[in-house]
Amino acid sequence: MLEREPILVAMSGGVDSSVAAALLVEAGHPIVGVFMRGSLPAGAPPGGRPRGCCSEVDAADVRRVADRLGIPFHVRQLADGFDDLKRYFAESYHAGRTPNPCIRCNRTLKFGALLDLAEALGCAAVATGHYVRRDVGPDGDVTIRRGRDDDKDQSYVLLSLDRDIVRRTRFPLGDYTKAEVRALAKRFGLGVADKAESMEVCFVPDDYRDFLERRDPGRIVAGRFVDTDGNDLGPHDGHQRFTIGQRKGLGRAFGRPTYVVAKDAATNRVVLGDRADLGVARVDVREVGWISSAPLEAGQRFDARVQVRHRQQPVEAAVTVHPDAALIVEFSAPLLGVAPGQGAAVYRDDVLLAGGWIATTERATA
């Protein structure tokens, strides 16, 4: 029998992490499953949040899958760090940025907690159901590559991880498509083959605006719409209610397709413009982490592909390493819907080189 490393599998109750666990079981790994509860405190009444990410239903599904696979199963509460995460989420909106709490969570909470738990349980690694490929070179260097299923690739959401985390993490689904994973789930008899995907933020079960109002009453106040030249276009209900690229739900008609192209939190102004005004030519990426490469030296410039949203195809760009460790990304063609606060993933071919957070954007000139 091959001696295989024990692995802690992060199980959400969905089809992906369930199949990931099953594949590892089939491969002969000793497996421990863990369900990470996010926003719900332990012992929350089942009726309070029956469905959605981290819900009681998910927990029950994980338990059933673990039972089916015959693996030990743990539930861990992430509540301690969640207050910080919620604060980041809210403050980002208040500051006029577009937050991505799930990517933040990966770095600050989820993977850290998983790896701590893995160490405590004697597991050599953590596995997740992300559609990401992980290669290990002859010298032991780990490379993260986009998943085989380009439509389902999830390497973007790992942009905040560092090399030590990816070294200790496994992604069994990287070589499968979603359809294949559902087929595997059926053949494994996991009972979650047709389960719908959960896409929402776990602590925001409804509309994020409602979440902000509940959390910070009184901070969302009326402001003004302006055009790209600064001309006043009328009142709005608070800049937090709008996101860059938003066209619908502006609260009034302007007689032509109008988009949110910028927000100024300091003055509570929302800048509206045409679709062409959405184009971003250059972004400044901060908090950069190098994932599949050692950090490049300042001043180096290289061609890459950059992704700024989940499920967006990476676009061609020239990337320059700034002396203060930031990345200056110049897109080959203006990219629409880019907002400060979003994550930016930098790829060379399909290898995730580095990732960081967009601090500023520079609109393309007409």
């Binding site: 099953a22 491969a27 059933r64 089916r68 990287g174 359809a179 087929a183 053949r187």
Partner: protein
């Protein structure tokens, strides 16, 4: 003559006869008739330089006088390894027996000791005749012969060898790339070998047609080989570049010159469905790799790697398109990866029909108990026949080492088939269930309660209970949940087929522990058959991984073959050819489908557990079928009016089918595997003896090969080896056979004492004297 005198002489006659018998060979060896085992030397020193084993065997048959007609002859061939060739042949059919397929023998070395061990393994004393040039006779061999002698065997030696026209260096191999891209350098690897008594030197000259010549001086070891690397700059022109390779000096016979052609053009195009970057990294230069989403006839070889059957691109349509592409000539390399033969579902895919392996269920052997509802509800139209077909289908899907038991239930339980092995069970089940007439109420709880599985065994067997029911159960869900828990505690999984209804019955769901220990499949009518299979398939693949067994591959690449997890269970398809195996399972196999070839890597070593690029770099061109016969060693021996052609395929090749063209004649060869030797006898056309055959035809392609012609090689005793022969024969209690010698009778010398015959003689003598000289009483 008185009666006394008559008795006296009769008694003395018996005594004299007993004495003669005791002294005669018949008396010593009475009845202890042994086997004759003839071991033919197929080592390199015989086969490569001289004749093939068939030729040696033919010569043996003609050089030595026939054996006793009552003898039974076994034949074996040995080189570095030994293998049985034919067995139980009568002497007059030995020649015919020799035409049976030659077993695979690695002929580069010579190990008569192995041959002796194999010869003595048949039981009973044997007369062993070792037909050899003696080059492999060493101390171990002599010791083995001595051991055989001690065990009652006799070892004779029939020395053969050819005159040594090839003792000087000769070209053993010329390797060249199939194709190179424009501008890419061309690397030729020329191997020079010798079978001389001492090391020598040779000069390899490689000249491109119409171009420059390069020369390399190499030191050739005695009875060894050495390779020289010759590089030519790449050219931008597309086309064919031809290189003439020759050993400088000496006669320019076919064994000392060769030619290779290298196509300058597009590299072998590989279309990968699956892991493109992995293949690009693994194969490196020389291959144009691109991703394809479906069968693409524009590529030379399609690679299917790690895909799951069912969804695209390996859905039914995609798999059928792959099969069509292969049928039309595209090569296919199917790499199962970690799931293909397990939960990846290749077993049910049309892809499985063209693979050179057959996929069996993975995991441990299973005990499957089937409970079939025979209540009144099953009397509805087609339900019962469909259920019977379903049960048979379940059994048909089981492995040969699985066991099955079938019972029916209504109010009570009736066992249709007690626990038995799967082979042959389907017919019995069909007959038993065919006689059942459904009727009565449903009492599933009692039937489940009565299920018993065979006792625990090591290794553990899977236990599966398949239940068919109409869902109208006796008892509530709690009762069935308790039964479900009891089954689970006994390690039994449950698959339920519910005939009728729109939703699973609560009791049946409870029996499966709400899906945690199985599932409920809804079906009716014709769908019942499918539902039975689905119920049996559920969760089948998740089982403890059986122990990994050592990999035994004929050509392990650098770094070794990957270690399979043994989740897969495959066996070689009837038309498949084994390239490498892992224990009792094929690891790499190759076969044909229409005009194309299919290779399959049947291991499940995981997503990145590769053995390195070499096996694939070697295998892919073979799958494409455009492989130059690199390393093929061929020769034709011509003696008198008869020729024997032999071809050897190097170890790294997968399999080849050859036709030798000799003038206007085509001589077909059987398919040949790696490292194997094939020979064929034919009568050369007039004049052919002076013109070496130039081509071998590979499928529909004709390629040039180097084939040597050796004229008049005679089998003769090699003086240098005589000492070895004599030493071996002496150790084995036999003798060295000379031309025209009679093969010794297949009798084993008896150590049986002669005293019974002597005693008989003495008793007879005394009785005679007593009768004649005793006083006559009553006178």
């Amino acid at each position: 003559m008185t009666r006394r005198t008559s008795v006296f002489w009769i008694a003395h006659g018996v005594a004299v006869a007993a004495v003669l018998v005791a002294l005669s060979p018949w008396g010593r060896d009475r009845g202890r008739r042994g086997r004759v085992v003839v071991a033919f030397d197929a080592s390199a020193s015989v086969v490569e330089v001289g004749a093939g084993p068939r030729d040696v065997a033919d010569a043996f048959a003609t050089r030595f006088r026939p054996l006793d007609p009552s003898t039974v002859v076994d034949g074996l061939v040995f080189g570095a390894t030994a293998a049985p060739w034919f067995s139980g042949a009568a002497p007059d059919t030995v020649a015919a027996s020799m035409r049976t397929a030659l077993p695979p023998v690695d002929g580069w070395g010579s190990s008569p000791a192995d041959a002796l061990a194999a010869a003595s393994a048949g039981g009973g004393p044997a007369t062993v005749v070792l037909v050899t040039d003696g080059s492999g006779v060493d101390d171990a061999c002599v010791a083995a012969a001595r051991g055989l002698r001690a065990g009652g065997h006799v070892v004779h030696v029939a020395p053969v060898h050819v005159a040594r026209p090839m003792a000087r260096p000769f070209l053993a191999d010329v390797r060249a790339p199939l194709r190179v891209a424009p501008g890419a350098p061309i690397r030729l690897e020329v191997t020079v070998a010798a079978r001389g008594a001492s090391a020598t030197e040779a000069v390899v000259a490689v000249r491109e047609s119409g171009g420059a010549e390069q020369r390399r001086r190499v030191a050739v070891p005695a009875r060894g080989a050495i390779s020289a690397i010759v590089r030519f700059d790449g050219g931008a022109m597309r086309g064919v570049r031809r290189f003439e390779v020759a050993l400088d000096g000496g006669p320019a016979d076919a064994a000392r010159r060769a030619s290779v052609e290298v196509a300058v053009g597009d590299a072998l195009s590989i279309g990968v469905l699956g892991r493109v970057p992995e293949w690009a990294a693994a194969l490196g230069d020389g291959f144009a790799i691109r991703r394809v989403d479906a069968a693409d006839a524009a590529v030379d070889v399609l690679v299917v790697h790690g895909l799951v059957a069912g969804p695209p691109p390996l859905d039914a349509r995609g798999a059928a398109a792959l099969a069509d592409a292969v049928r039309d000539g595209t090569g296919l390399l199917a790499v199962a990866g970690s799931v293909g033969f397990g939960p990846g579902g290749w077993r049910e895919s049309p892809l499985a029909t063209i693979l050179p392996v057959r996929i069996e269920r993975a995991g441990p052997d299973a005990d499957v108990s089937v409970l079939v509802d025979r209540s009144g509800s099953m009397a509805a139209a087609d339900r019962w026949p469909s259920a019977v077909r379903g049960v048979v289908a379940v059994v048909a899907g089981l492995g040969s080492r699985d066991r099955v038991r079938v019972a029916t239930f209504a109010r009570d339980v009736a066992e249709a088939i007690a626990w038995r092995a799967v082979p042959g069970a389907a017919g019995a089940i069909r007959n038993a269930l065919g006689a059942v007439r459904p009727g009565g109420p449903t009492n599933l709880a009692a039937a489940v309660d009565a299920v018993r599985f065979p006792p625990d065994e090591e290794p553990a067997r899977r236990r599966l209970l398949i239940v068919s029911s109409d869902g109208r159960l006796g008892g509530g869900p709690a009762r069935y949940r308790a039964l479900g828990h009891a089954l689970r505690e006994r390690g039994v999984r449950v698959g339920v087929v519910q005939s009728g209804g729109d939703a699973p019955a609560a009791g049946l769901r409870a029996l499966t522990l709400d899906g945690a220990n199985g599932r409920v499949v809804l079906a009716d009518g014709d769908d019942l058959e499918r539902a039975f299979r689905a119920a049996a398939d559920d969760g089948w693949w998740i089982d403890p991984v059986p122990p990994v067994r050592a990999v035994a591959a004929p050509t392990p690449p650098a770094g070794g073959w990957p270690q399979p997890q043994r989740v897969s269970r495959t066996r070689l398809a009837p038309a498949g050819r084994l390239v490498a195996d892992a224990g009792d399972a094929p690891l790499v196999a190759i076969g044909r489908h229409g005009l194309g070839r299919v290779a399959v890597a049947a291991f499940d070593a995981g997503e990145t557990a590769w053995a390195g690029p070499e096996p694939w770099r070697t295998l892919l061109p073979g799958v494409f079928g455009d492989e130059r016969p690199r390393g093929v060693r061929g020769r034709v021996d011509v003696r008198g009016g008869r020729a024997v052609a032999s071809l050897r395929v190097p170890e790294e090749r997968a399999v080849a089918t050859w036709t030798l063209r000799w003038g206007s004649r085509r001589i077909p060869f059987d398919p040949i595997g790696p490292g194997r030797l094939r020979t064929a006898s034919f009568s050369p056309p007039p004049g052919g003896a002076t013109a070496p055959p130039a081509f071998a035809e590979f499928g529909d392609r004709r390629v040039r090969i180097g084939v040597a012609v050796v004229h008049g090689a005679e089998l003769a005793v090699d003086d240098r080896d005589t000492t070895r022969h004599a030493r071996l024969a002496t150790a084995g209690g036999g003798r060295v056979l000379g031309p025209g010698d009679t093969i010794p009778a297949p009798m084993a010398p008896s150590r049986a004492p002669a005293w019974p015959w002597a005693a008989l003689a003495l008793v007879a003598f005394l009785v005679g004297r007593a009768v004649k000289f005793a006083p006559i009483g009553g006178r």
